[in-house]
């Protein structure tokens, strides 16, 4: 018995019974007619079966291993002349494949019907997972931190109860300055010796503390709560959050400040955002500017900035002729309010979960 690979015969040859029996002679035409009629009957019958029982009945009739019609036809192959067998074998295999495909299609169809009966209502609710939420102020701060960290700025924090030196004097806010008015600050009833203490009115205090401890180069972002006695209204709250950046390195110019803020703005707002400087006045920077960023086709005021005042550099023991730096500050509530469409910043402090769950 030659192997099929060597004789190159179609696979039907392989299923030929090993023992040769006497088979009546048939013509090729009769064989072909027979096989085509089987194919037509089988495909038609399998196409209309409606349940498992009739499917099984059809399977036995056409593909049954013992007395199925296909089996009977296969036996006819032996009655063909040797020359006719390859062509006949090919037709036989084609028909077998077609019937098998029709059977599988019928099986699939019936299985589908059964699954349909078992289908679920996909619009049904489950037992919802309750997810928590970070406060939108925290999310805004984190985003600023993340962008600034990519620009090499490290987040730092420091005490909220501050002394006169860190909150005022080192920031070039002299004793005569109106910003030190008791009515404009939250002074503590206790003092450290003769030094009155207060809740910090800006996070620049942290910048002073870091500069006192480290030498340039320095890139930091100070952030946290600050306190000023404003009457609470839609745009003011006596407690709010600031993020302030500081860079002190040799050869730093306002061009670096503008470039860093532009990178920040482009990242924060998306797209190629431009920044605009308008002259302003802050005691601890000189020159001082207001920073506008283009947002939705308009210039939006984002915060204040400037070159670190030489007096501030000197106050922390740096040489203003050797190093220079820039600083900028952003009001977190204002940015968050605009970003999330919050019209009244007092909403940030109501802690209503129906508000918090939206962010």
């Amino acid at each position: 018995m030659p192997s099929s690979s060597r004789c190159g015969r179609p696979s039907a040859c392989r299923s030929r019974p090993r023992s040769r029996k006497a088979v009546p002679t048939v013509s090729l035409d009769a064989f072909l007619a027979e096989i085509e009629s089987l194919r037509a009957d089988a495909v038609a019958a399998l196409g209309v079966v409606a349940d498992e029982a009739s499917l099984e009945q059809a399977r036995i009739e056409f593909l049954g291993a013992k007395s199925g019609r296909l089996k009977s036809i296969q036996k006819m192959l032996g009655g063909l002349s040797v020359a006719e067998r390859p062509a006949a074998g090919k037709h036989f295999n084609d028909a077998k494949q077609a019937i098998t495909a029709a059977l599988e299609a019928a099986q699939g169809r019936l299985a589908g019907t059964a699954a349909e009966a078992d289908a679920i209502d996909v619009t049904l609710p489950g037992d919802p997972l309750r997810l928590g939420h970070l406060h939108p102020i925290t999310q805004t701060i984190r985003r600023v931190q993340e962008i600034m960290s990519r620009l090499g700025f490290e987040s730092v924090d420091g005490p909220e109860v501050e002394d006169q030196w860190h909150n005022f004097e080192a920031l070039a806010i002299g004793a005569e300055h109106p910003a030190r008015d008791p009515l404009d600050n939250f002074y503590l009833a206790v003092a450290r010796g003769a030094d009155p203490l207060l809740l910090r009115s800006q996070t620049s205090t942290v910048q002073i503390r870091v500069m006192e401890q480290r030498k340039p180069p320095l890139r930091i972002v100070s952030l946290g709560r600050v306190y000023r006695p404003d009457t609470a209204d839609a745009t003011h709250y006596p407690m709010f959050h600031q993020v302030e950046g500081l860079l002190v390195e040799q050869g730093t110019t306002m061009a670096h400040l503008k470039s860093v803020l532009r990178l920040f703005a482009s990242s924060f707002l998306g797209g190629d955002v431009h920044v605009r400087f308008r002259p302003s006045f802050f005691p601890f920077t000189e020159p001082s500017v207001e920073v506008d960023m283009e947002w939705g086709g308009r210039w939006i005021e984002m915060g204040g900035a400037g070159m670190v005042d030489p007096a501030v550099l000197a106050a922390v023991g740096y040489d203003p002729d050797q190093v220079s730096g820039f600083a900028f500050g952003l009001g977190v509530e204002r940015i968050a309010a605009r970003r999330y469409g919050v019209a009244d910043i007092r909403d940030f402090y109501r802690n209503d979960v129906r508000f918090l769950e939206q962010f």
Binding site: P159, P178, S259
Partner: protein
Amino acid sequence: MIISTNWLADYVQVQTTTEQLVERLLMSGLNHESTATVGADTAVEIEVTSNRSDCLGHIGVAREAAVLFARPLHVPDPRPLEGGGRVAESIAVEIRSADVCPFYTARVIRGVRVGPSPAWLVERLATVGVESVNNVVDITNYVMLECGQPLHAFDLAKIRGGRIVVRRAAEGEPFTAINHKTYTLTGQMCVIADAAGPVALAGVMGGAESEISAATTDIVIESAQFAPLAVRAAARGLVLASGSSYRFERTPDPAAVDWASRRAAALILDSAGGTLERGVAEAGTLACAPATIDLRATRVQEVLGIDIPSERQQAILTGLGFVAVKPLADGPSRWQAPTWRRDVWREIDLVEEIARIEGYDKVPEDRPITARPVELSPREQAIRTASAVLVAAGMCEALTRSVVSVAMEVTQSPWGAAPPLVVSPALVRGADRLRRTLLPSLLEARAGNVAVGAPHAELFEVARGYIGRDSDHRPDSPIQEPLLVSLVTGGAFTAAKVRAEAVLARLGVAATYRPIDLDLFARGRSAEILLERPGQPAERIGVVGEFSAAALKAAGLDTPVSGAELRLDRLEFAVGIEKKLRRPSDFPAVERDVNLVVDDAVAWGHVAAAVSETAGDLLEQCRLVQVWKDADRLGVGKKSLVISLRLRSATGTLSSEDANRTVAAVVEACGRQVGAVLRK
């Protein structure tokens, strides 16, 4: 500050549109608020920063515009004709509080006809929102709005004793201002007085008695210097701000003291007639010390990052009124600041002047930034870890006020016995205590949610507490600001505990729990969380408990709430602990359940410790499945603990015999250590 564009044109012809003028002023430091048409004039409201008192008058703004548009500036030089007697014969001036008033001048005009102002004056004042009173008063206002120096006109006939004394008010001295309200003065305030009493509150407002009326014929024009802080204190103290106090708080141009007096005299002679007496009655010394400043040639470039030619730098400074004392040569150029720019006294200030006039739009925004490595601090990492765990547990982050009312600070703090620190003024009405724990604030926030029908408020917050020094601390010891993460939940004790434990577990910290008595929590239903580290005393890192009825009531809650508070500042260290893999065993586990009966008083922690200690490395998990009590079946005062043990060896398959031996040892140890009996 409101600017009339018609008025501005008296000093500079900018030959441009109002929009362009406004835009250039905006970009050089005078923020634009609004523009409005008033009759044939335009009113432009600008915001003037506190350092720029020179721009609190039209001439100062005109000077800016002249420099920006390279147009000439015309400032009048008033030379009013003097005649009649000498002013010294009409009035004498004396300063008794030179710290508040360094310099005081008075001119006298006799025979004025007080009446309506001419139309041009009424119109200009109307543009800038000032109502016309009469020709004399209007001119004093006009000159102030022109040059920034406030003036006041008195009726000479009402100055009793022909003498003006600048002195501190007597404590409680009454004063009736021209708004016809009477104020009680303090000894800190400074008044202009005559022989009988105050006729003006120095730098703030004139008095009703000596005001210019239709019957007035002889007037005194006051032009003086007053100390900014004193004026500010008086105006704030009496809630009596005026255009005058606003300007004195920002220090007007010293040179304008005399200029304004002459200017007003000239305009009054024009509009109201009369004769200006010869000379000026004055006292004190004019405080005026304009700075001399060196400017290095390279400094502008070093600060701005752009090159501005030195000719351009000089043109800007000259246009702004700076005088070149020494031109740029081998050394720096030297400049004398104008009297109206007290804010410019250092080299960096000159750089800013040059920058803002040249325009910051010239500064490039594409300089490369060098890369630098950045790490989150351990504290920041600890905060993020704690927040992430609690968010994952379904909690919302709250932000509550750091300063609370006394009602919320009556309970003990877990973090120190010192009383709460007090701030002044109160943050909001009644809230003047720095909180020592966040828990009452979170309870209040939860109550707020219940009140609006959101009862599922599971809240947490990361913030500081503020702990004052104890009486035994040294007086210079710093105030402690523990970093806290706190949470409240509607569940029982264990609901708060598992949340706190999840935070600790994620930080890699194993803690122990010990009962604690804090009035914030219900008695017998709270614990302190302790951290035990080798070689260190146990440290309190947190508290957890069910809130006491009193605490719930104070917050306005009537359903049970539990909470926990952890000291993140004491947990930061854990962030630095490196994680090392403990390879999971490849061998199968053996599960064994044990039912132990113990006395009711036996704490689970002791049983768990005995199990863990005995089973050693084989113990993969020890889980408390059930606790039950039944006096009939277990006996009075007994409880049954059903414990599920999962045992597994790292080195081989654990045989049933080995597992049984270990369980037997566990039962034996529990019997010995906590009196447990195996229930069959």
